[in-house]
């Protein structure tokens, strides 16, 4: 097994363990820190998949921005979370059903052409670099969605300010 494959499996295991700890730990601050670990491991997987720009955006926006927002709200709202996950009877039944569905999907994954081929590690044919290609795609083929995304962010910002604004 080559080194990138080993790195991928290690990163995926760490990301999954950290994701489980996000929903398992009772302290919300610990959840946020494990969330950072998950985001960083997923960003490293993006680098392995040759999506360097998305990896950088992931680190900047998720690990840098969103988690800080979470930590601010945690500090504003409550310090300790004493209620852990709650698993009751109907949760157990639906868990068994969900595990069956996951098993079916795994079975389908293990049979198709996706199981036999390998992801190539050669760069794409336009070797201008990931950042330049994405910039050209964003501003040439996806201009309208790009502008709509900016309007969406503006609306979300105004909505967050209106919702969180303290009225006296």
């Amino acid at each position: 097994m080559e080194a990138p494959a080993v790195i991928f499996y290690v990163l995926a295991s760490i990301a999954l363990l950290a994701a489980v700890m996000v929903i398992w730990s009772r302290n919300v601050v610990h959840s946020a820190i494990y969330l950072v670990l998950t985001f960083l491991c997923v960003a490293a997987v993006y680098v392995l998949l040759r999506a360097e720009f998305v990896a950088a955006v992931q680190v900047l926006v998720y690990a840098g921005g969103i988690v800080v927002l979470f930590l601010f709200v945690i500090m504003l709202v409550s310090l300790q979370d004493t209620l852990g996950p709650r698993i009751r009877l109907h949760a157990t039944v639906s868990g068994i059903l969900g595990a069956t569905v996951v098993g079916l999907i795994l079975y389908v994954y293990s049979r198709g052409p996706l199981a036999t081929e390998r992801l190539l590690s050669v760069p794409p044919e336009d070797s201008a670099g990931n950042l330049q290609s994405i910039g050209q795609a964003l501003y040439r083929d996806f201009v309208l969605p790009f502008e709509i995304a900016s309007i969406l962010l503006l609306v979300a910002m105004i909505g967050a300010i209106v919702l969180a604004h303290q009225k006296h």
Binding site: Y9, L16, A19, I23, I105, L119, P124, S133
Partner: protein
Amino acid sequence: MPVPPNHVLVFSLLLFAVGVLGVLTRRNAIVILMSIELMMNAANVNFIMFSQRLHDLAGQVFSVFTIAVAAGEVAVGLAIVLALFRNRDTVYVDEVHIMKG
């Protein structure tokens, strides 16, 4: 990367399943928002994997849009949590049932 694509798909499937589990079992609204972020990350992993496999940049562009939507969603969601805490003094979703019929 000499990894079969379905292993990346399994990774994203398990990440998504952990997110669903968090949304369904946790009662703290902040942790529920974190689980939604986990699910969005799982979807992004799929986008990036197929973008690499099909040599098509549209997947990466889409994941950038997903990240933008996730940022907006988490800002509005946390503002809702904050307003909820101001008005009802709780962040536990099973103590909030004003819209229950």
